[in-house]
Symmetry: C2
Subunit: 209 residues, 2 copies
Amino acid sequence: MIIPLSSMAKAKHTISVSAEEKIREAARRVFMKKGYAATRTRDIAEEAGLNLALLNYYFRSKEKLFGIVMEERMKQFFGVITPLMYDTTTTLDRKIEMIVSNYVDMLLQNPDLPLFILNEIRHNSDLFNRFQAGRLIHGSHFVTQLKEKQPGIHPLHFVVSILGMTIFPFVAKPVLQSAGGINQQLFVAMMEERKTLVPKWAKAMIKMK
Amino acid sequence: MIIPLSSMAKAKHTISVSAEEKIREAARRVFMKKGYAATRTRDIAEEAGLNLALLNYYFRSKEKLFGIVMEERMKQFFGVITPLMYDTTTTLDRKIEMIVSNYVDMLLQNPDLPLFILNEIRHNSDLFNRFQAGRLIHGSHFVTQLKEKQPGIHPLHFVVSILGMTIFPFVAKPVLQSAGGINQQLFVAMMEERKTLVPKWAKAMIKMK
DNA sequence: AAATATTTTAATCATTTGATTAAAATATTT
DNA sequence: AAATATTTTAATCAAATGATTAAAATATTT
C-alpha cells in the first residue's frame, strides 16, 4: 500500500478535481470557519463529499492537513505585504497606498483570514516560526524609508498603525455589525472608503512634528 | 441533592477561596489561553486542583461555565470604552486620550483578551448579542462629537481607526515578536509610547481637511 | 452528640473523535 | 484479457471527553 501524502504524480486525466484536492479545499473552508480545535475530521470529509478514511489516506493526519492549509493561508496573508516591504523602487507614499488597497481587496474576499491566522499562531507560535517570514519587517526597505522621515519614532509604530487601521475592522467585524449597526453593504462601502482614508491619515502621521 | 449553579448563599466562613470560585478562576485562565473548543473540562479541574465532578456540580456544564467566564471578560473588554462613549462632560480630545490610555493599561495586564473575545464572538455571535451592548457605538455622545468635527466622514471610521491602532498591536503580538524582532520589554515600552502617539495622530486625523 | 444537609471524590457511562484495516471498486500496465 | 496497482469504502478501534452516580467526607443544624 502506497501512501501518497499529497506528493504522488497524478496520472489522472479527469476533468473534475481530484479527491485529494477536494479534501484540501474542504479543509480550508472548515478550518477557516471553525478553527483547528473545533474542526472534526468528519466535518471536512462531509464538506468534501468523500469518505473520512481518504483524509488519512492522503494526508496522514488532521494535524498534517492543517499544516498544509495553514501554510497556504499564511502565504496569502503575508504575501500582500512582503513584496512591497522589500521593494526599493517605490516611494513610501505609494507603498502605503498599495499596502492598504491590496489588503482591503484581499480581505473583502477573505474576511475570516486575519482572525484565523492570528488566533492559530497564538495557540501554536511554531506555525509562524516554521514559516519563512522570520525577518519580515525588521531590515526591510519600508522600515528604512520610515526611519528616514521620522528618526525619532520607532518605525514599527507606523507599520502597526497602518496595519491596525486596515486589518482591525475585519477582526472586529462581528462586533461592528452588532454594536455599530453596520450591515454587510455598508461595511463593504466603508472598507472601500478606507482605501483612500487610511493612506491619507498615515501620510499625515508620518509627516507630523 | 441541591444543585447550586453558582447562586447558593454561602454560609462559609473560610478564609480561603471557595471551590466554586477556584473553578471559575481556573476556567478563566484556561479558556482565555486555549479558547473554548480546545479547552477540556479536565484541564480546568486540574488547574483548579479539584475534582472534575465539582465543575458539573457547581456549573452544570462546560458551556454554562464558559458563558459565565465570557460575560465577565466582555464586561472587562467593553467596560473600558462604554462609559467614555456616553460621557457628555468630557471633550472629544480628552476622551480619545482616556480611551487609548485605559485600553493600553488594561491590555498590558490582559494581552490575550482581545483575541479571545473577538475569536469567540466570531464562532458564536450570540455570545455578543446576548450581551447588553446592542447599541454600544451607534447613538453615543462620542459619535455625536465626531460627527460635529467631520460631518463628511462616517464617525465609525475614526472609532475603528483609534481602536485599531490601540488594540491591534496586542492581537498581532506573536507576529510582531517573531517578524518584528520585538521582545517583551520593548513591546511594553512601545505600548506606553502609543498612549501619547495614538491620541496625537487621532486628533490630527479628525482635524484634517 | 445525633441527625441532617452540603461538599467532594472515585468510578463509570455514553459519545465523540482521530485513525486504522481489510476488502471492494476502479484504474493502469502487461 | 489478465495481472497489477491505485483509490475508495464500510466497519471498527482505542483514546479522549463531557457528564453522571453513588458513596464518602465534611460541615451545619437540631
